[in-house]
């Protein structure tokens, strides 16, 4: 499947910003099943300094700084992708390893790959393992259950028990609070799932990207109606990182476009940095457009 993604970010400041330094994770990366045909980023006003690179996790980065006074900052990203579909049923038929076996395998970690996977078992900026979260996920990830089945069940469980509510939470709601309130947005669900999975001693990571939305039958698709999305992946020996989308209760297959992955949102935040001046308020507009070509 071939897609074009347009992602427009616009900041409006109360007073002119005189200087800014920003690190972005806006350019989508390549993955074993996702090939980028072209990627472009345009920042206005034109940065005095910019540099593209690759971060610790292999994600694409773009760093820029602007020294001319501006009340409006726009960042336009356009990229085109080929995405392969997976043979999911075949993957799911794999009954090994079980959660118990995987925990054992990781305890011995006798290959370079497994040793590196351990990074995703630990706490990170937005992920804090806890007994409460472990208790919530323990049954699903019991020793005898296959890892893939457990992850699929857990994805379904979150979808069933939690309500999608864009107004419900502020940014980076702690997982225990999400558990209590049982509502949130995709990012909360992804963080929540990762927190639970790491709490039961299994490796999980955060993925940011986009999802193609289809209009109701018979209607035209609205431009800019799409949005950035977040989901998680769990590590399974032999298969590698297998993705799950708890917000939509499915395993991504051909319609999820990956921008970046890391331990959690903090590793892949689309835009981070500082500004000088700019007054005390700012307005952010984001529009995303995912188009099948």
């Amino acid at each position: 499947m071939r897609y074009r993604v347009r992602h427009l970010t616009e900041y409006l400041y109360a007073a002119p910003v005189t200087l800014c330094y920003n690190m972005t994770h806006l350019l989508p990366r390549d993955t074993p099943k996702q090939r980028c045909l072209s990627r472009n980023i345009k920042v206005s006003p034109t940065p005095i300094y910019h540099s593209a690179g690759e971060d610790y996790f292999g994600n694409e980065t773009y760093y820029f700084s602007i020294q001319e006074a501006h009340k409006k900052l726009t960042i336009e990203v356009e990229s085109i992708f080929d995405i392969d579909e997976q043979d999911l049923p075949n993957q799911l038929s794999l009954q090994v390893p079980t959660c118990g076996e995987l925990r054992q395998i990781l305890a011995y970690a006798d290959t370079p790959e497994l040793r590196m996977v351990k990074e995703y078992l630990l706490d990170s900026t937005h992920i804090h393992r806890s007994a409460k979260l472990a208790a919530y996920a323990a049954d699903t990830f019991a020793d005898e259950v296959s890892v893939l089945q457990a992850a699929l069940d857990f994805t379904h469980k979150i979808f069933q028990e939690f309500t999608f509510d864009a107004s419900a939470t502020s940014i980076s709601t702690p997982a225990e609070q999400v558990l209590e309130e049982r509502r949130g947005v995709c990012q909360d669900f992804a963080h929540f799932a990762i927190s639970c999975i790491r709490s039961v001693g299994l490796p999980a990571r955060y993925i940011s990207g986009y999802l193609e939305t289809l209009p109701p039958p018979g209607q035209e698709k609205l431009v800019g109606a799409d949005a950035s999305h977040a989901w998680f992946a769990i590590f399974v020996p032999e298969l590698g990182w297998v993705e799950f989308d708890p917000t939509n209760d499915l395993m991504p297959n051909g319609q999820h476009i990956i921008t970046a992955w890391g331990r959690d949102y903090a590793d892949v935040s689309p835009l981070q940095g500082v500004i000088f001046d700019g007054g005390d308020s700012q307005k952010l507009n984001v529009s995303v457009d995912v188009q099948r070509l």
């Binding site: 950035s228 689309p270 981070q272 000088f276 952010l284």
Partner: protein
């Protein structure tokens, strides 16, 4: 006092005493062997101490303290510029024989090479983790492992420039490394200062002892830093980055900056533009190639590291990542300090260097390993528990000191998160003799050693910073504070041929004259506060004399003087709107002297001045520091005199302050090069004196009084500016207001007249660097000064002295002074806009971080 050394008669060959103190069983002693006889390499030193005797040693100790204080060698300023804690130094050096040192030196050089390789591996291929040499979670869980630093370009031959290793002796006397400092290792500056002080108080002994010199270390550091520059240049621009005056080791930062000849800067003095780092200076932005940093990793860049840092340079990491600036040490090197690594160091050394580790580390168990965990739980009493990685909050738990409850808590903590903790053997450290209460006593000690990268490897400082516990009760020396330091002598078999003494390096003039704007601003205020304090003090002294004079002061005169004092100090309303206060002025007067919380009081001004001085410590001459210490002493004296309100002779204790302030301004005039630092301090002084003189004239003479009372006012005014005698000599005919104005306003030969100040300001302005865009015509600040000069020169003194009877005032005088004050205030704000830095701090771009919304 019983002391084996208390013999003052000092015979020619005094026998060397046996160990005069008992060492704990099993401990190694630096100075005395098992038979408690002096070790060979301590003989000479101990004989010397014996010859000096108790008085001699006490005298050396006091001299050392004085030198340290005069050098401004402080530790931990604790926000009080009045009573800085002086660096604690024991004058008996720790002596190590050359043979023994040679082994340590090799071990340290190897260890630094190893740590540099670890840095490169962790931020590069991570083979240590992939091959399982180091359990990966030790690094992955370490907050000091900065993934942002992955793939950083490192232009120099070595990435790790400086490395400090704490070593102690085990019971068998073998040295063992117990910890590493790699982010911004501190202590080398204090080690250099210790050497300077000890060699000054025991010059003969030092000269005859063949002590290895430290100067090569600084020379190597300079060469290495210069070699780090990513592009070809003859004049590498290096700066020392400090968190600022309130950092506990600020003295060292200033010391190193001066010693090495680099500007000392704070985060706000630097800015990132066009992908490079620049220093904001008087001459505009000047480029920076290398930063010797004393700031911890996470505080260095608000854009990518800690957003709440107040100390960093936004954008710095990106510049470093691209190799356009080099930091010593590189960002991310904090991860090397993790105690968890020590458990695996021998294997790491084999893996990365293919050779065994020479200098052993303290035996370390990582509790994430089940066998280690079992051992630790069963031997808790003999171990020290530490977090696996190092952080601000890291605390060590000493197993042997735990009661049952604390023990249970510690075990629970370990059980909950075994991978988060390591255990280490407890090594008490060797005993070293110190001079304490007039005799030798033994204390356990630790030695911080320093290495610096060279082209081919690492060079080790011959010696280091020895530290001993303050009391015998302390088991181990952990922090710099609360311990006593020692110079460390490595004895050579033969005298060194190299030139002696710690040499100052030639300064790069272009760089040194190009001062950071912040330094200029602090010097400007230093001058202003000094002048403000002096003028207020003089007026106050005069008032005290008049109030307590033989003739009672008429109430009208008294009121005007007191009100003038409120105006000059700016402590308003004070005497200006309070009849009651005028009748009973004592409490208010005492407060104006000693209440440091009242802006404008003498003490507040002096404190502000000392704080500015502290900010630019590296710019102050040795003599200036001595005078500032005297000033501190005088402030304490005044405080004591004023403990119970106004003393009976209140002006007496103020004299010391005035004299010291005069010494300071005299020193500036006589000994300071006329660089921009002098210029701005002088501009500050002159502006302040002009402002206060105008204020004083307006407040004292603006309101007319009849005959006698008026004369008293004029005389008081003249007395307070030291002009009464000249006045009487010059105007024998009487005390007319016009004559006073002549002397105080328009006499160019009187260095305290108004016109003198403004005229000086005009001269200085012509010397300041000009902004290129302002080539034509006068600058606005110059205009204001010339206008003020004209206003003063064109004034008609008779007109000014004229009393407007309807309003009972000297209206023209009041108006002219108000106008001049306003112009001068405008002048200072223009100057400040032009030369000082006014960037507000950065804010995070994403206040409400955005959320993926689907």
């Amino acid at each position: 006092m019983r002391s084996p050394l208390a013999n003052n008669s000092a015979p020619e060959t005094q026998p060397v005493p046996n160990a005069p103190y008992v060492k704990p069983a099993g401990a190694f002693d630096e100075a005395f062997d098992e038979g408690r006889q002096p070790r060979a390499h301590w003989q000479q030193l101990l004989e010397h101490i014996g010859r000096l005797g108790t008085d001699g040693m006490d005298d050396r100790y006091r001299r050392a303290q004085r030198i340290l204080r005069d050098d401004g060698a402080t530790y931990d300023l604790n926000n009080d510029p009045l009573s800085p804690s002086v660096w604690s130094l024991d004058i008996i050096p720790n002596v190590i024989s050359n043979d023994e040192w040679a082994f340590v030196e090799q071990g340290l050089a190897q260890r630094s090479t190893l740590f540099e390789l670890i840095y490169r591996d962790l931020y590069g291929e991570q083979q240590l983790l992939k091959q399982g040499i180091v359990p990966s979670e030790i690094v992955f869980a370490d907050p000091g492992f900065l993934r942002q630093c992955h793939g950083m370009r490192l232009p120099g031959a070595k990435a790790l420039i400086l490395h400090a290793v704490d070593i102690v002796r085990g019971e068998n006397g073998q040295f063992v490394a117990i910890g590493d400092r790699t982010q911004s290792p501190s202590g080398s500056g204090y080690a250099l200062e210790n050497r300077t002080v000890v060699s000054r108080v025991m010059p003969g002994l030092f000269r005859d002892s063949n002590v290895l010199r430290l100067s090569a270390f600084s020379q190597t550091l300079r060469q290495t830093l210069a070699g780090l520059v990513s592009h070809k240049t003859d004049t590498p621009r290096v700066v020392v980055l400090t968190p600022g005056a309130y950092s506990s080791t600020y003295f060292e930062h200033a010391y190193l900056a001066n010693h090495l000849g680099y500007p000392l800067v704070q985060g706000g003095d630097l800015t990132v533009r066009n992908g490079k780092v620049w220093m904001k200076s008087l001459n505009g932005l000047s480029p920076v190639d290398v930063i010797l940093r004393r700031l911890d990793d996470s505080f260095c860049d608000q854009a990518e590291l800690r957003a709440d840092s107040m100390l960093g340079v936004p954008g710095l990491l990106e510049v470093a990542r691209n190799g356009n600036v080099v930091l010593a040490n590189p960002l991310g090197s904090g991860v090397l300090e993790a105690p968890g690594l020590l458990a695996f160091l021998p294997d790491i050394c084999q893996f990365l260097m293919g050779q065994p580790l020479q200098l052993p580390s303290v035996r370390t168990w990582w509790c994430g390993n089940p066998q280690d965990y079992d051992y630790v739980v069963n031997h808790l009493d003999q171990l020290i528990i530490k977090p696996t990685y190092r952080s601000f909050a890291s605390k060590s738990i000493y197993g042997h000191s735990l009661d049952a409850k604390a023990r249970a808590e510690t075990l629970a903590m370990l059980a909950k998160n075994p991978a988060g903790f390591v255990a280490q053997c407890y090594i008490p450290g060797a005993q070293a003799p110190i001079w304490h209460e007039q005799r030798l006593e033994g204390r356990p000690g630790i030695l911080r050693t320093f290495t610096v990268a060279t082209k081919n490897g690492y060079s080790v400082m011959p010696g280091g910073l020895s530290r001993v516990a303050e009391s015998t009760a302390e088991v181990i020396v952990t922090k710099l504070s609360g311990s006593r330091s020692k110079d460390t002598w490595i004895l050579s078999d033969k005298p060194e041929v190299e030139p002696s003494a710690v040499t100052e390096f030639p300064r790069d003039e272009a760089q040194v004259t190009n001062l950071p704007s912040r330094v200029i601003e602090n010097l400007f205020w230093f001058g202003r506060y000094a002048e403000r304090a002096e003028v207020s003090l003089r007026l106050m002294r005069t008032i005290f004399k008049q109030l307590n004079g033989v003739e009672p002061l008429p109430p009208e005169s008294r009121n005007i003087l007191l009100q003038a004092l409120s105006q000059v100090t700016g402590c308003l309303p004070g005497f200006t709107e309070n009849e009651e206060l005028l009748e009973h002025p004592n409490d208010e007067l005492a407060a104006l002297v000693t209440d440091h919380e009242r802006a404008g009081s003498i003490k507040a001004n002096l404190q502000a001045m000392l704080a500015c001085g502290e900010q630019v410590k590296e710019m102050l001459s040795a003599d200036t520091r001595i005078i500032l210490n005297e000033l501190r002493d005088h402030i304490h004296e005044v405080d004591r005199a004023y403990t119970h309100g106004l003393p009976s002779v209140p002006e007496e204790s103020l004299d010391g302050l005035v004299t010291t302030l005069l010494a300071l301004s005299g020193l500036n005039n006589e000994s300071m090069l006329r660089g921009m630092d002098w210029m701005f301090q002088e501009i500050g002084r002159r502006t302040e004196r002009a402002l206060l003189t105008a204020t004083l004239l307006k407040a004292t003479l603006g309101k007319p009084l009849p005959g006698m009372q008026q004369q008293l006012i004029l005389e008081s005014l003249l007395l307070s500016v030291e002009a009464l005698i000249s006045f009487r000599r010059r105007y024998r005919t009487g005390t007319r207001i016009e004559f006073g104005l002549d002397l105080l306003m328009i006499d160019l030969s009187n260095p305290r007249s108004l016109i003198y100040q403004v005229n000086q300001l005009r001269k200085y302005l012509n010397e300041l660097p000009r902004n290129e865009s302002m080539t034509s015509g006068l600058s606005p600040e110059n205009r204001l000064i010339i206008k003020s000069l004209n206003d003063i020169q064109l004034a008609d003194l008779a007109q000014l002295a004229h009393v407007d009877h309807r309003h009972r005032s000297r209206a023209s005088l009041q108006q002219l002074m108000s106008q001049i004050i306003e112009q001068l205030e405008q002048f200072t704000s223009l100057l400040s806009d032009k030369y000082f830095d006014h960037t507000a701090g950065p804010q995070q771009l994403i206040k409400a971080k955005w959320k993926a919304e689907l």
